[in-house]
């Protein structure tokens, strides 16, 4: 397999079945450090289910997921986060009654350790950690361009800002792999290109990016490589230009959406 670095994520024969429904079946793929990779496919192709198995929301029925060479399939989500995989959601899932800053501070959870005694006794270590978390969270807000909105409740933020806040919250866990589930859904042109630029800057920080994307323009623009899913199976992969020329891909899209 070609790529700019060693495999960060390797998926072997992965399946997630729900009763008789094979939502994801026999998926093999690998993602290399520093890539931006898109997953595309018609609605119901199993993309989000695939992400859910990667992040421990579903346990998976069969197969392996190796992250940095170590198996992570079936681990609890918070363990997977601690190992360096963070994600956003198709339908925004912020902590809506926390401020933007607090949302990002929560994202820092797996990289901090103060428990009960620290806060109870107001120890020095606790106070230092809290102020470090806060200043780091501000940096991440700054990074996604939300510095000025830190004290707003998440639910009061405009839609595009909410998407960015999800990215900031995910980044706060210092992931090696950032998974974005339809980051541009419902966005206008400007917001879209904002997000594309943000994904690039995330990659510049050394974070590998895996995203589900529906807008082909964005996919073509941003992706190093593309995986195509249909009926839970990966039917094609390659450079964006190769993939859009692939007969099976055209059929998957036009065969159904043209009907």
């Amino acid at each position: 397999m070609t790529g700019p670095g060693p495999a960060l994520l390797e998926v072997r024969d992965l399946a997630q079945h729900f009763g008789g429904l094979k939502a994801v079946d026999s998926v093999n793929l690998s993602i290399h450090e520093g890539e931006i990779v898109s997953v595309i496919g018609p609605n119901g192709a199993g993309k989000t289910t695939f992400f859910n198995v990667l992040t421990g929301v579903y346990p998976g029925t069969r197969g392996d997921i190796l992250f940095e060479g170590r198996p992570i399939r079936g681990l609890p989500s918070h363990d997977i986060v601690a190992r360096g995989v963070a994600r956003t959601f198709q339908n925004i899932r912020l902590f809506s009654c926390m401020t933007a800053l607090e949302n990002v501070m929560v994202g820092r959870h797996s990289r901090t350790s103060q428990f009960l005694l620290g806060p109870l006794l107001r120890t020095r270590a606790y106070r230092e950690e809290e102020s470090a978390v806060e200043s780091l969270a501000k940096e991440f807000l700054d990074f996604v361009g939300l510095r000025a909105l830190g004290n707003e409740l998440a639910k009061n933020l405009p839609y595009g800002a909410q998407r960015k806040l999800e990215v900031a919250r995910a980044l706060a866990s210092e992931p090696k792999l950032l998974i974005l589930d339809e980051p541009t859904a419902g966005m206008n042109q400007t917001e879209c290109s904002d997000l594309v630029a943000l994904a690039r800057r995330v990659r510049e920080r050394g974070v590998t990016v895996l995203l589900i994307e529906h807008q082909m323009r964005v996919v073509m623009d941003i992706s190093d490589r593309v995986f195509v899913f249909d009926y839970g199976v990966k039917i094609a992969e390659g450079k964006p230009r190769q993939v859009v020329a692939d007969a099976r891909v055209i059929e998957a899209y036009l065969g159904r959406e043209g009907a």
């Binding site: 989000t48 859910n52 929301v57 959601f89």
Partner: protein
């Protein structure tokens, strides 16, 4: 002896089931524990007693008296439940899940103390308009009163089944239980359906109150609490929100109690411990109750 035990279990189970149905009907639609349901059933019993005391002429005797007691008890309990819903729960419906519960606790206190203050602080004896005797059944001698109780309870459950499955209102209730906002969009008047649900649930509770009074021969202002708590447990055991589950849970609980009393040394003392332990164990194995549906999370 065994036949009598089984009948005891069925009688108790039938009463629990009727009460449990009241909890489960309301829960099915509003996902709310109607804490005041135990007082509603107590009021049903007191209304029937009131009828027997103050209108003995209209009351008559025998089966007609029995019918009159049921109608009065059920109507009163149903109406009280509707009024309580209208004034104490409906304003809170959209606010939060726990606010109606606290309001219900308040209503429960008010109703109980109302009866305590204005009717009686003591146990009152409850009329039994049927001749109580022993009847031979399958070679065993059993109490006729219990057969009446069991028959009445099963009859009401049959009626409820018919109502929910075959009438237009019953279908509307099921639609609301499925998804109340969609039902609203389909043109179903949710407020009306909820009111009817409270009436039906209350009426079943009222019937259970009358049966309870007949079974024990006396009633008191706080009679509702214990069977109420047990029946709620039964509803959860069966899978709260599920009508068949409530009936199943009620009978299981009745059976457990009677078996515990009859066959375990000091069983009466440990009866409730056994019942609650079974509940906990069942829920640990089946977290949504015996017949409850599994809840799924969507990401």
């Amino acid at each position: 002896m065994l036949a009598q035990q089984i009948l005891n279990a069925l009688t108790l189970g039938a009463i629990y089931s009727l009460i449990a149905l009241g909890y489960t009907l309301v829960y099915g639609i509003l996902a709310m524990i109607n804490f005041a349901h135990s007082e509603v059933l107590m009021l049903g019993a007191f209304t029937a007693l009131g009828l027997a005391t103050f209108a003995p002429a209209a009351f008559g005797s025998g089966p007609s008296a029995l019918a009159a007691m049921f109608v009065a008890g059920m109507a009163a309990a149903g109406l009280v439940n509707v009024v309580v819903e209208r004034f104490a729960y409906r304003p809170l419906r959209a606010v939060s899940r726990l606010a109606p519960l606290i309001s219900a606790i308040g209503v429960s206190i008010v109703l109980q103390n109302g009866v305590f203050l204005w009717i009686s602080t003591q146990s009152l004896s409850f009329p039994r308009p049927v001749v109580i005797g022993q009847i031979s059944l399958f070679g065993a001698s059993v109490s006729s009163l219990q057969l009446v109780i069991l028959g009445a309870a099963l009859g009401l459950m049959g009626l409820l089944h018919f109502f929910v499955e075959s009438t237009k209102m019953g279908k509307a209730m099921r639609a609301c239980a499925d998804d109340i906002s969609t039902a609203g969009l389909m043109g179903i008047d949710a407020d009306r359906v909820i009111a009817v649900t409270f009436f039906v649930g209350g009426a079943l509770g009222g019937a259970a109150g009358v049966l309870y009074g007949m079974n024990y021969g006396s009633i008191k202002y706080n009679l509702g609490f214990l069977p109420g708590a047990k029946a709620f447990t039964a509803a959860v055991l069966g899978g709260i929100g599920n009508i068949r589950g409530a009936v199943l849970g009620g009978f299981i609980l009745g059976l457990l109690e009677v078996l515990a009393c009859g066959y375990i040394p000091d069983g009466a003392q440990w009866r409730d411990v056994i019942a609650f332990t079974v509940l906990i164990v069942v829920l640990l194995v089946r977290p949504s109750g015996l017949l409850g549906e599994k809840m799924a999370e969507k990401v």
